[in-house]
């Protein structure tokens, strides 16, 4: 029960943090979410002139009071979708987020179902051949004596 409460509390705390990040983004966080168009890395890992230019523009848009979405939309309008390090949570971008999760769940279901079927298919233990009546009588006699 306690872990569940912790998860719920953490989720509730994350909402205002995300909202603050949307309204008042920092250059540092956006540098990790935006790609340098000429180096194939995020801005925070690049000091190329193209990356410096985008950092300058982001800083000026933050100073002007733009939200994170507005800044990202402006970048996408100039450079296309590839400027974002991660696809957006809308349209075809949703596929990139949910397809791997759906794949993992489907794989887990398939493996689970396979394991369940395999465990059910195991052959039951077959009864052995009937004992020789003389041997059975001797065994019963021995057991009786053992019980006494």
């Amino acid at each position: 029960m306690r872990p569940l409460i912790l998860v719920v509390v953490a989720a509730l705390l994350a909402v205002p943090v995300a909202r603050a990040s949307e309204r008042h983004p920092t250059l540092n966080e956006l540098e990790g979410e935006v790609m340098c168009p000429v180096c194939g890395t995020t801005l925070d890992q690049s000091s190329s002139p193209a990356a410096q230019q985008i950092k300058r523009v982001i800083a000026s848009r933050i100073a002007a009071g733009d939200t994170k979405s507005q800044i990202k939309n402006q970048l996408v309008a100039e450079y296309g979708d590839a400027i974002l390090a991660a696809p957006e949570h809308k349209g075809l971008g949703l596929l990139a987020w949910w397809l791997p999760i759906a794949g993992i769940i489907a794989a887990a279901v398939i493996v689970g179902a396979g394991a369940w079927r395999w465990s059910r298919r195991r052959e039951p233990l077959l009864p052995g051949p009937p004992l020789d009546p003389a041997l059975e009588a001797r065994l019963n006699d021995e057991l009786r004596r053992f019980d006494d």
Partner: protein, 179 residues
């Protein structure tokens, strides 16, 4: 699971694998196209890949294919963050004064902010029209980074050459102007 359901599942799995394989092959085949620059190095003269992009100055669009058969073209790939582009674009601006009535000079501002690009043009006195290729999709078809990249396209639409050394500029300009 019935036999028909099992067959259907197996068919689906095989189709999925074949589909992914086809996608991989298509991707590799497309990647093997290194663009105009590589074709020129291989001794070929490909037809200029078409583009239809918005002009930086907001005065409509430029459709490269529409110039085919009408005018030879000098195509300049540049960006405002590219320091060597300043020198090359200024040389083209000077050449435009001599060849401007016979040759179309077109800039392609690539992987760049359009606002910064306009400021850059004003600052360096570049007057020939440029289009905005923010994603770099057009640049990729012509050979990709690094820039500047300057190409010379004959009136027929065939790419004659790419500027490699300074002397290439007057040489190719004379060649395409006579085409």
């Amino acid at each position: 699971m019935t036999r028909s359901a099992r067959l259907a599942a197996q068919g689906l799995a095989v189709a999925l694998v074949v589909g992914l394989l086809a996608l991989l092959i298509w991707r590799v085949a497309n990647d093997s196209n290194k663009g105009v620059s590589q074709a020129l190095r291989d001794g070929q003269h490909p037809t200029a890949p078409a583009f239809d992009l918005s002009r930086l100055d907001g005065r409509g669009r430029i459709d490269l294919a529409s110039l085919r058969g009408k005018k030879p073209i000098v195509l300049d790939f540049w960006a405002s963050w590219c320091v060597p582009c300043i020198h090359e674009s200024k040389r083209l601006e000077a050449a435009r004064r001599q060849y401007g009535n016979r040759v179309a000079f077109i800039g392609v501002d690539t992987k760049d902010f359009s606002g910064d690009a306009r400021s850059w043009q004003r600052k360096h006195g570049i007057t020939y029209p440029s289009v905005h290729d923010g994603s770099g999709g057009v640049l990729t078809k012509w050979g990709g980074l690094p820039i500047p990249r300057i190409f010379f396209v004959a009136r027929s639409g065939k790419v004659v050459g790419e500027l490699v050394v300074e002397e290439d500029l007057p040489r190719y300009l004379r060649q395409i102007a006579a085409s």
